[in-house]
């Protein structure tokens, strides 16, 4: 039902049941928020979104108050702006003054708020809380002194991820956000997804940085520095360099990485194709033997850790395939090293990922061979952008180049790994071919594309009706697994991604982007697929060569050694 309200003395239409904030946003009226997360229930804790109810002069939180017919509000009256300013000043009174040294300098919501509210002097000062930085996690650093207690990380961790690694501790001005019993994040149930970083308004949550190790390797004459980049990376950079969101920058990226000094530039999409070869073989084998079904994808390291902690009963279902990052790492230090006559000790292997959990994955014990890790350092997309700037590369004025062979070719099937549904689609394309000898019609499975939390499809492959489910957000994954535990048996293949939307919305991606940006990145990937000449992993010429000359066959002895892994139940504080 439509009603009329008055905002800043102007009548506007609203729908009953909408919150004031929703109506304001729809009408292009900007009210600042801190604790609010679009699409989640309002919290009303930070009071930034206050508006003045004209009649009573009361200040109300627009995020939680619903509109009603005849409501009159002022969004920027002196009373409102003063109240907001005081809130920011109070937050600043307990905040370190080291913006210049902060990772979030120039990209911090607290900075923006104090700038917009014209905070120009310290009117409120007091004793600041002294809290310890938690550097225990391989992926995430928490600096509680920079935290302004908006609680967005806590909510994402609980409501989207179903992990609840962190929560508010203590009360009143002694409050902080932490792990139970003040333990480190490394022994908590944290799955390193980085979604808490994505929602953090300040520098309280950041990824662990490895710039200095990488720079050292780049300057070390005895090292061959090899870099790989994930399928989602090339479509997630453009906006940072002033180009339209979703522009594919793969050519510029290859060139930039060479300029920086990487000796070999490889595309993880190649390894995504390799993953598909192994995973589809595994799927077919399990279907034929009717064993350990449904098979669940293992590309997402947050999901894998979640499974080890929360649903170990499904570990036999998780595909034994390493993730593309790790397959690539392993192939670089075996096949590539042998072929190019480089000792594997002399290779320093870097990967560029839209993900913070990849940092965790790279240092897992299972991902090392004789004490040498397959991947030595991981940078997130955010860090990559900084790295490119550090080396002064102009991404807008650079001649595009192609990646190096033999690990530089990827098909568009592998490229789809970057978005939710992509792994499943690529796997089915290849499984379909292997089972029937013909290609899947149009190569497309539209039912599993898009941004819904859960997508399902039934695909006829000969006599088999293959059930596929795609979920993103670990909370949603848990719901599906509960159904399966309760006896649901029509699903053969499940793709699980921790981040809502998949890797294009990963925890390592540039900040301040919304659903619209994610959609554009996904569209870009599907566009690449539409225009591609080779749309199936089994036709990747370099992958075929790798099997012919080295691995022999999917699930073979060598593949098993290099490309597969195992999982174990983890006891964590949860």
């Amino acid at each position: 039902m439509s009603i009329t309200i008055e905002v800043n003395n102007k009548k506007i239409e609203a729908k009953k049941d909408e919150t004031i904030l929703e109506v304001l946003n729809k009408n292009g009226i900007h009210v600042p928020t801190l604790c609010h997360i679009k699409g989640m229930l309002p919290d009303g804790a930070c009071r930034m979104c206050l508006v003045e109810q004209k009649e009573s002069g009361k200040l109300i939180t627009s995020c939680s108050a619903k509109v009603y017919d005849g409501l009159e509000v002022l969004t920027h009256s002196p009373k409102v702006t003063e109240a907001r300013k005081v809130i920011v000043e109070l937050l600043l009174s307990n905040h370190p003054d080291d913006c210049l040294y902060c990772v979030r300098n120039l990209n911090c919501e607290l900075q923006t708020l104090s700038e917009n509210l014209n905070v120009r002097e310290r009117r409120i000062s007091g004793k600041k809380n002294q809290l310890k930085i938690d550097r225990s996690s391989p992926s995430i650093i928490r600096d509680p002194e920079k935290c302004i207690l908006c609680g967005r990380c806590v909510r994402v961790c609980e409501e989207v991820m179903g992990v609840s690694a962190i929560d508010f501790v203590n009360r009143g001005n002694q409050s902080y956000i932490g792990v139970a019993f003040d333990k480190g994040l490394n022994i908590s149930s944290c799955v390193n997804c980085g979604q808490c970083i994505v929602v953090c308004p300040t520098g309280a949550l950041t990824e662990k940085n490895h710039f200095s190790e990488i720079i050292q390797a780049l300057n070390d004459k005895s090292k061959q520095v090899v870099v790989q980049y994930a399928p989602a990376i090339s479509v997630s950079l453009a906006e940072e360099f002033g180009l339209p969101i979703g522009t594919d920058m793969v050519g510029a990226l290859n060139a930039a990485l060479r300029k920086i000094g990487f000796n070999f530039v490889f595309d993880t999409t190649f390894a995504a194709d390799l993953t598909i070869m192994e995973e589809s073989a595994e799927l077919i084998k399990r279907v034929q033997e009717n064993k350990n079904l449904p098979i669940i994808s293992s590309c997402c390291p947050s999901w894998v850790k979640y499974a080890e902690e929360f649903v170990p009963e499904f570990l036999d279902n998780v595909s034994s395939c390493k993730s593309p990052q790790q397959m690539m790492g392993s192939v670089i230090k075996s096949y590539f090293a042998e072929k190019s006559n480089i000792k594997k000790e002399d290779i320093y292997s870097v990967s560029l990922m839209p993900c913070t959990a990849k940092k965790f994955e790279a240092q897992r014990e299972e991902m090392t061979t004789n004490g040498i890790s397959d991947v030595d350092a991981v940078l997130t997309t955010r860090e990559l952008v900084k790295f490119i700037r550090l080396y002064g590369v102009n991404m807008l004025d650079i001649e595009p180049e192609v990646a190096d062979s033999p690990l530089g070719t990827g098909t568009s099937a592998g490229k789809l790994f970057g978005t939710s549904g992509g792994v499943a689609e690529a796997a089915i394309r290849t499984a379909y071919y292997k089972l029937t000898g013909t290609e899947l019609l149009n190569f497309r499975i539209p039912e599993i594309r898009g941004f819904k939390n859960r997508k399902e499809a039934k695909i006829k492959i000969g006599d088999l009706e293959l059930g596929v489910a795609v979920v993103n957000g670990l909370g949603n994954a848990k719901k599906l697994l509960d159904e399966i535990s309760a006896g649901r048996s029509d699903i053969h293949f499940i793709e699980i991604m921790a981040c809502p939307g998949g890797c294009i919305a990963g925890g390592g991606q540039p900040l301040n982007f919304d659903q619209e940006a994610f959609k554009k990145r996904a569209e870009a990937l599907y566009m690449i697929d539409n225009n591609a000449f080779v749309k199936v992993s089994h036709k990747n010429p370099d992958v075929i060569n790798l099997y012919n000359n080295y691995l022999k066959e999917p699930l073979g002895e060598k593949s098993h050694k290099l490309l597969h892994t195992n999982y174990t139940k983890r006891n964590v504080l949860k």
Binding site: A165, N170, F181
Partner: protein, 155 residues
């Protein structure tokens, strides 16, 4: 009589979130404090993440995360005591035994707890050591009170 956690759980047959605080109180009453081990058990029993439970438990002053010392000092921070200087009293005690409120000394002899009101406002500022009240304490008298317990301990 100390009940183990499992037998405490038996008293909560249809358990759920609302049982959290009473359950924690029972565990604390029986053990004197909330150990990590027991909180994890409560978390599994009620199916509530440990981080949530720690959050709730640290919100209230009544819960402890260290065993109480041999001598458990309760410092009243109620209104009457506050007016008569209980905050300086507390600071002095913390200084004397070298731990903050809520904690226990390394040797396990003393622990401090802040309580809201002991109900002995006439004696303000008042502290209680293992239930024994000390009335109208001052910064000066604290040292001798604490020393007296130290001497018993030595004997």
């Amino acid at each position: 009589m100390k009940k183990n956690v499992e037998s405490i759980f038996e008293q909560y047959p249809k358990s759920g979130r609302p049982d959290l605080i009473p359950l924690l109180q029972d565990v604390q009453e029986s053990y004197g404090w909330l150990s990590e081990e027991n909180v994890v058990k409560v978390s599994q029993f009620l199916d509530i993440p440990v981080s949530n439970i720690f959050g709730v438990a640290t919100f209230y002053n009544q819960f402890r995360f260290q065993p109480v010392g041999e001598y458990h000092i309760q410092v009243c921070r109620g209104t009457a005591c506050h007016v008569l200087g209980s905050s300086t009293v507390l600071k002095e005690i913390e200084k004397q035994i070298k731990v903050k409120a809520g904690n226990t000394t390394k040797d396990g002899v003393f622990s401090i707890e802040i309580v809201a009101c002991i109900g002995a406002c006439g004696l303000a500022p008042v502290i209680s050591v293992n239930g024994e009240f000390h009335a109208k304490v001052t910064v000066e008298s604290i040292k001798s009170i604490i020393d007296s317990y130290k001497t018993i301990e030595k004997k």
